[in-house]
Symmetry: C2
Subunit: 166 residues, 2 copies
DNA sequence: TTGAGTTTTCAAAATTTATTGAAAAATAAT
DNA sequence: ATTATTTTTCAATAAATTTTGAAAACTCAA
């Protein structure tokens, strides 16, 4: 396989994978491109390489920076901004967990808290409260577990999980 | 808060959450409805309750059954099929992990395996191979860890993770 | 075997989400 | 202050995904 074909395949697959992880396809493709880049890329480099508009490039670079998956790098004497990817996979996963926890798990916990206040003593209400309580308990456990995971350092995590792999 | 309002809120939120987890909104809403139901529901009950078409109802029920999140229940003397939700949250999470592993992680591993075969000795190729190798290693570790997680039983998991929460 | 009830299929329509492109704003060298 | 370059914004457009609805297939009792 040629390098260009390999790069192309990797970028496409990373894009598809990302789109299932709350990262849209272009956003993930930019991340993929920067992952396999051996130098910082300007927004224009990225635009050219992926054949996308400047607006799209700009919005997704900023989203990536916001998620902590890409860093801005200033080259002395250069007017343009340059960008590099976070390449430590555990760091990448941690950043994604952090974002999704904030955007999904935490709002869900608030809703569960809220709806657990329903009035009534009938069987339907009791069943509803029971289910909500169960999910609330599970979710807050997951929330704490994820917090700990994120706080823990890379090696500790790998170590703990490796011991699980037998 | 009234029970109906609470149910409605819960169904909507579960729908939104699901849509970030590879489960489309309707599919997650059906699951939510069945979670808080205190009896089996027919496809028609679901259609009526959520105000969706029969086609949509049918497709999403089958997807839920395929994912192992809903079970078909036959009532003696009844012609219709009835459905109940898997209510054990850890079981739900395991099923989702299983599906997503199959649909996302495993294809990615195959692509990584494939593209790691690129030809060439130059710096670009070396950088590419290095990144791919790193991701491949991380991904296969994650894959094994998830396998173990799925195999392990509910209490073992909760126990292990609780000890992490301090 | 017929036919009422039920489930499945799938092309077309509706909805949601992502992308473009052009204009405006910011930046920094002259 | 002027101008060339780069970045940002956002309404319009395009693409992708979901939902519908109507027809076909299936199921089972009579």
């Amino acid at each position: 396989m040629e390098l260009d074909e390999g790069k192309q395949k990797f970028i496409q697959s990373w894009g598809t994978l990302g789109s299932h992880w709350g990262i849209n396809r272009t956003m993930a493709q930019i991340h993929a491109l920067l992952l396999i880049a051996n130098r910082p890329y300007s927004a224009n480099d990225i635009k050219e390489e992926l054949n996308i508009s400047m607006g799209n490039t700009n919005m997704n670079i900023r989203a990536l920076i916001d998620w902590g998956l890409v860093y801005k790098e200033l080259k002395p004497g250069e007017r343009k901004d340059f960008f590099v990817a976070e390449k430590d996979m555990w760091e990448v996963v941690k950043r994604i967990i952090t974002q999704r926890k904030k955007k999904e798990l935490e709002p869900m916990l608030r809703v569960l808290e809220d709806v657990s206040k329903v009035q009534g003593e009938d069987a339907d209400t009791e069943e509803f409260k029971k289910v909500v309580q169960d999910i609330k308990l599970f979710s807050s456990k997951a929330d704490s577990a994820l917090d700990n995971l994120i706080k823990a350092d890379s090696n500790w995590f790998i170590g703990t999980f490796m011991s699980m792999i037998k």
